[in-house]
């Protein structure tokens, strides 16, 4: 095996893992801090993508369209939390089913509003060369974006008052209430944040994954397998699981077939759950 091929495979697999992580972080935050699996996560990604797309079509530069997408998805997320999730607190499977209902409703709404035909915005035509091989620059940029997103969420959770409250609400709910933290408001904030992160992902990935009503399905399955494999220490766990599963699948696909990559992903997920029935971070003492 030539060295330059190996290097490109590793680099592009890391980029694949980063894309998975970007798509996953919002889900991980909501799961980690609220114990809720948001099956509509993929549709928030889609909403983010469509918002950014609509904004760019209206003449807003792509970079500015990203915060707009975040704001829109956060707002919709907050409304959904207040109307639905709030009433189902502690009923994890009911929440899953309700968010699944939301997901198919959003999907069909997107079909109604945007139709099935919407133009993509294209990837920046910039690539780097390693030996004989080209790599798309924008995909590689995702490695940094994933790292930035991860650090942002980590700092938000450990260094801000909101983060302290959010973690207190999940770890010591009774104590949190006793010292006056309104957990329902914190939850609204957390869910909204999770949706905002999904919106960010949808917008930043728009050049790679064109906006279509069904784009959510493609991501959400792997994203939520990643979160579940990650276990209770969601952020660090998701990063490790995304790199292991996403990167591993990508490397497998590079040397074998793409189908083998997918099978690798699902099989390793099953094996990890067998070995770590509560997720890979179940025994850890870290908190984020």
């Amino acid at each position: 095996m030539e060295f330059d091929y190996l290097a490109t495979v590793l680099l592009s697999s890391l980029a694949s893992a980063s894309i998975l992580l970007i798509a996953t972080i919002g889900l991980a935050v909501v799961f980690g801090l609220m114990g809720v699996i948001n099956l509509a996560h993929g549709e928030f990604l889609m909403i983010g993508a469509y918002t950014a797309l609509t904004a760019t079509q209206a003449g807003v530069p792509f970079l500015l369209s990203i915060p707009i997408a975040v704001a829109v998805t956060m707002a919709i997320g907050a409304v959904i939390e207040i109307l639905v999730i709030n009433r189902l607190y502690g009923r994890i499977f009911d929440t899953m089913l309700a968010t699944w209902g939301i997901s198919i409703a959003f999907y069909q709404l997107a079909v109604l509003i945007f139709g099935t035909v919407t133009p993509g915005i294209g990837m920046p035509q910039y690539s780097i060369k390693i030996g004989d091989y080209n790599l798309a620059g924008y995909s590689l940029l995702m490695i940094f974006v994933a790292a930035l997103m991860g650090s942002f969420v980590y700092l938000l959770m450990t260094r801000t008052v909101y983060g302290m409250k959010a973690r207190a609400s999940i770890q010591e709910p009774a104590m949190a209430r006793a010292i006056g933290i309104e957990s329902s408001r914190v939850n609204t904030m957390t869910f909204s944040l999770g949706c905002g992160l999904a919106g960010f992902a949808g917008a930043i990935l728009l050049p790679i994954v064109p906006a279509t009503p069904s784009m959510g399905f493609a991501f959400v399955i792997k994203a939520f397998l990643t979160v579940v494999v990650a276990g209770p220490v969601t952020l660090t766990g998701s990063a490790i699981a995304a790199i292991g599963l996403g990167g591993g699948a990508s490397i497998t696909a590079s040397f074998l077939t793409s189908v083998a990559g997918d099978v690798f992903f699902f099989l390793i997920t099953a094996v990890l759950l067998w070995l770590f029935p509560l997720g890979i971070t179940a025994g850890w003492r870290r908190k984020m």
Partner: protein, 603 residues
């Protein structure tokens, strides 16, 4: 009992029977196209039933039901294609092979899920992964099995319809509907029988409190796997019927949409009602048929999505659940008796009688001992090289300040924690690595700190299920439960739902369940917590009598309670045995006071 109460008791038999008869009558009078479409709704209802068994009753939301359904369909149809010439019947082969393969595959998956002791979310996700994996693999899976050709995404064609016997002609739509209703009805009644019988009761207990069920001596994982296999069998049966209905199968049967439709059927009809999924499937099938057929370009998906959200929010118990609640309002409140219950007072005579009978049947008390027992959690060592022996005769108390490792030691002896070193023996038998339920069979009885009762079961049934675990005989279990009810003074409350009892009464009920096991060694974890002074006095009396017949170990930090037990006391500190003796000796010991008061020298 008046008519209404009888109807309420037998609702699960009467209404389905009426529905089936009406369905059969209708099947022969409606248009063939409607009979044809309605057949699929009945099949989906059967698929929903399989989920209700494992989710509504077993408490595990499985998203693999469509996998068993699809595999049952494929295997059953391959059998039907190749073997129909034997006996000239397709359904004999497709239904039996579909059912067996569904059950075997579910059983195998269940072994992985339940024996790995996965968390509930992880179990659900793994079942979902299984379905997704099948969907992925089946897209390009091509094989020829005799006359059956499985052609990847092009699926398998030429599946024979319902051919009963001797013929080659498949049943017409009306006949097919009649046959499907009969098969589904039979499956329903078998399920009803199983789920209202002993197996079903244990499954209910597993859902309500799996740990307590195991502490009563049931091999819960075996029950879970069997229940899952049973549900897989029903799903496989439904799949085989589906194959015969559509004459064609393809990988979309494993798709995400299919998988997630099944919980909707169950929720619409009513979780845990068994008949509900049929109501749900017919309602959803009808809605979707009407929307798809009536309004071209209609927004079926949108409507289904919103319906699901509204259902989860506002109709948690589904159609049948809501009906049942309405019916319950017409009946006298069975929990009435819980309100006029007096304070518990133990019938000492009864208790001694029970304990004597237990000793005669189960043999003398057994000693429990640990040697060099070790348990670590990361850097924390809550049980550090503990060697202790507990003999019958006097109550043993384990005391120590918070974090001394008392409860951890108890949990390691019970098997709730796996020890990292050392040995545990019960009556001389090594049980270090034995499962919890086998320890219970050897004679261990455990009562945890919080009251563990099966909230939805009646008080009598709580005791019965405990007694049945030991006796394996319905009659005898009933007698033991009645004796214990009398002893606890809860006879009046026998038909009250356990969750309606007060906290204190639940503690007594829990202790009563432990006594039903006729244990040879009893472990009580802070039994006096949350009890009134009066109750604590009764408890002390009970423990003292108990200790005359069995070995009793009490973990406690209420020193006053420990004193009234007049037994042997061991002090644990930082996971190690710190001091030993009777309570007055220890009270005079400066070192014990030091650790309790947090004074320097021995901390």
């Amino acid at each position: 009992m008046n008519m209404l109460q009888v109807l309420n008791e037998k609702a699960g038999l009467v209404f389905p029977a009426i529905s089936i008869l009406t369905g059969l009558a209708l099947a022969n009078s409606i248009d063939p196209y409607l009979a044809y479409v309605a057949t699929s709704w009945v099949i989906f209802g059967l698929l929903g039933l399989s989920l209700d068994i494992v989710w509504g009753r077993g408490g595990f939301l499985s998203l693999a039901q469509t996998a068993f359904y699809g595999l049952g369909g494929y295997f059953g149809s391959v059998a039907a294609i190749n073997l129909s010439f034997v006996f000239g019947s397709s359904v004999i082969w497709s239904l039996s092979v579909g059912m067996i393969s569904g059950a075997l595959i579910a059983g195998a998956l269940g072994l992985i899920i339940f024996y790995a002791r996965m968390g509930p979310l992880q179990s659900t996700i793994l079942s979902y992964t299984f379905t997704l994996l099948l969907w992925s693999v089946s897209q390009s899976f091509k094989i020829r099995l005799g006359d059956a050709v499985i052609g990847g995404d092009n699926g398998m064609s030429g599946i024979p319809g319902i051919v009963l016997a001797g013929g080659t002609e498949a049943l017409d739509p009306k006949g097919a509907l009649t046959f499907t209703i009969l098969v589904a009805g039979a499956a329903y009644f078998v399920t009803y029988k199983v789920m209202t019988g002993t197996f079903g009761r244990v499954i209910d207990c597993v859902r309500l409190d799996i740990q307590k069920t195991e502490l009563l001596g049931y091999d819960v994982r075996r029950y879970q796997v069997l229940n899952f296999a049973f549900s897989g069998g029903i799903a496989g049966l439904a799949g085989a019927l589906f194959g015969a209905w559509s004459n064609y199968l393809n990988p979309s049967i494993f798709s995400v949409q299919e998988a997630l439709l099944v919980p909707i059927y169950v929720l619409v009809g009513g979780l845990g009602t068994l008949a509900g999924p049929f109501v749900g499937a017919i309602a959803i099938g009808g809605l979707s048929f009407w929307l798809g057929g009536g309004a071209v370009g209609g927004q079926t998906t949108l409507i289904l999505g919103i319906v699901l959200v509204l259902l989860v929010l506002f109709l948690k118990n589904g159609v049948l659940g809501a009906l049942r609640q309405g019916m319950a309002r017409l009946l006298p409140d069975p929990n009435e008796a819980s309100r006029n219950a007096g304070a518990v007072s133990i019938e000492t005579g009864d208790l001694e009688g029970i304990l004597q009978a237990a000793e005669e049947k189960e043999g003398p008390a057994k000693a429990l001992s640990s040697a060099g027992l070790l348990k670590k959690f990361g850097g924390v060592v809550p049980v550090n090289d503990v060697t202790l022996s507990f003999e019958p005769g006097k109550p043993h108390s384990l005391i120590g300040p918070n974090g001394a490792g008392k409860s951890s030691f108890l949990k390691t002896c019970v098997g709730l924690y796996k020890p990292d070193g050392g040995h545990v023996t019960l009556g001389g038998e090594p049980i270090t690595n034995a499962t919890i339920y086998s320890r219970v069979h050897t004679g261990m009885g455990v009562k945890n700190q919080k009251p563990q009762v099966f909230s939805e079961l009646k008080v009598r049934d709580n005791l019965w299920i405990a007694a049945f675990s030991r006796l394996r005989d319905k009659r005898q279990a009933h007698d033991v439960a009645t004796t214990i009810l009398d002893m606890l003074g809860l006879t009046e409350q026998a038909d009250v739902t356990a969750s309606a009892l007060s906290h204190g009464q639940q503690q007594w009920l829990d202790i009563g369940m432990v006594l039903c096991l006729a244990p040879r060694v009893v472990l009580l974890d802070e039994p006096a917590a949350g009890m009134t002074n009066e109750e604590t006095r009764e408890l002390a009396k009970l423990v003292r009598i108990l200790a005359r017949f069995t070995t009793v170990i009490v973990v406690e930090h209420d020193m006053e309670f420990v004193r009234t037990l007049q037994g042997h006391v061991t002090v644990l500190h930082q996971g190690e045995v710190f001091a030993d003796g009777d309570i007055d000796q220890l009270r005079a010991d400066e070192r014990v006071l030091d650790i309790y008061l947090g004074r320097r020298e021995h901390v």
